[in-house]
């Protein structure tokens, strides 16, 4: 929330307090005046004044009734303003919660993107993918498959939750994972659907241009994840594109490559 928005909100809060105080004061005046009026009427009736006095009393009574009407109108107006300020506060609270949610999403996406591209070491890229899947998405069991274009096989190369040997080598184009790689679309099981034992609930195909690199298959999410959030869908999309490019980049850069700054010709080597 910006500083001016905070000031607006604080100003509205102060206005609300003023309105409440004014409403309380008016109500108190109203009650006091009504009591005083009743007392005067009672006094007039009991003392048997003459007609002139009665006329004066009626005039005074008319004035008081007019004043009461005015106070009642003002009170209604204040109540309407109060309701308006309350509604405004409610809108601000909802907007604040929405901004918090967006901030959380952006932070997650930034961190995921940063970690994927923070290294040229293939093992570190795979570790970053694993961390994103475990810590940001909340997968309990998953596997990362590498695609071999020569024989069309998807070989498990990294996993969590089960031994690597428990994940089979798959075929591109066959099964949920193989089909997702061919279709180049993220597969997500229907919410609440009963999944077949061993079948993934989410498959994220990894592609760079037309080249299939593999897939990330999520077999089980953490128990507290009753459903996938908007952020999860955004992270699937981010992994589908950025994980693939990070893996390709890391395979291009040799481990012995000098670091920038240590070799004056480094930029030339990269750009040429």
């Amino acid at each position: 929330m910006s500083k001016s928005e905070e000031q607006d909100e604080r100003g509205e809060g102060d206005a609300l307090l003023d309105l409440l105080a004014r409403g309380t004061e008016l109500t108190r005046q109203l009650v006091d005046e009504t009591a005083r009026l009743r007392q005067r009427i009672a006094e007039g009736a009991s003392s048997g004044h003459d007609s002139a006095t009665r006329h004066d009393q009626q005039l005074a009574l008319g004035e008081w009734i007019a004043k009461i009407d005015a106070l009642q109108r003002e009170n209604r107006s204040l109540l309407e303003q109060l309701r308006s300020v309350e509604a405004s506060n409610q809108r601000w609270a909802e907007r604040h919660a929405e901004i918090e949610e967006r901030h959380n999403e952006l932070a997650n996406l930034y961190v995921a993107s940063y970690q994927l591209h923070a290294t040229f070491d293939p093992d570190e890229v795979i570790a970053a993918i694993s961390e994103i899947v475990i810590n940001l998405i909340g997968a309990e069991v998953f596997a990362l498959y590498s695609c071999n274009p020569g024989n069309g096989c998807l070989t498990p190369v990294a996993c969590e939750g089960r031994p690597l040997s428990s994940f089979s080598t798959l075929t591109v184009g066959s099964g949920l994972i193989g089909e997702a790689v061919v279709n180049r679309t993220v597969y997500i099981a229907e919410p609440g659907a009963v999944t077949v034992e061993g079948e993934p609930v989410v498959v994220i195909p990894l592609h760079v241009r037309d080249c299939a690199l593999g897939a990330i298959a999520l077999y089980k999410l953490l128990d507290q994840k009753a459903e996938l959030s908007e952020l999860d869908h955004q992270l699937f999309g981010l992994l589908a594109s950025h994980a693939a490019t990070a893996l390709v980049c890391s395979s291009w850069v040799p481990a012995s490559m000098p670091t920038p700054g240590s070799n004056p010709g480094w930029i030339d080597r990269v750009t040429n």
């Binding site: 918090e100 932070a107 997650n108 930034y110 995921a112 970053a128 961390e131 909340g138 953490l222």
Partner: protein, 126 residues
């Protein structure tokens, strides 16, 4: 000069960065990172911290061992500790609380939950 110093002991760079991201929204906070329990112990015994976030599963020295060592040090016994766990690891969480952790945070973490816990343990207004 920072008003509050927070130590994050977590082996995952992703989680560390996410925690730093969330905690930096608080004003007057200085954040120090440690990548395992031993690194965390070195830092917590050589410098002053107002709050420590500790992951449970870490190499070299795990979070439970770190918490027990912190609590056995009279100079650190009152320092607030928040453990980071997964929802499934209920036993770890209970053990951490029994060892003296003040709060717990479950993965995947939410920035507003991190802030809420930090403000609560640092006794700052919400």
């Amino acid at each position: 000069m920072a008003d509050h110093r927070i130590l994050i002991v977590e082996d995952s760079p992703t989680m560390r960065q996410l925690l730093v991201f969330a905690l930096k929204r608080m004003k007057g906070v200085q954040i120090v990172e440690a990548q395992d329990g031993m690194d965390g112990l070195r830092k917590v015994t050589s410098d002053h911290f107002d709050l420590v976030f500790v992951d449970i599963n870490m190499p070299v020295m795990d979070g439970l061992k770190l918490i027990s060592l912190i609590r056995s040090d009279p100079g650190l016994a009152a320092m607030p500790i928040c453990v980071i766990t997964t929802e499934g690891a209920k036993d770890d969480r209970e053990r951490a609380i029994a060892l003296g952790a003040n709060e717990y945070l479950t993965k995947p973490i939410q920035a507003n939950r991190v802030l809420s816990i930090a403000r609560d343990l640092l006794k700052l207004p919400a």
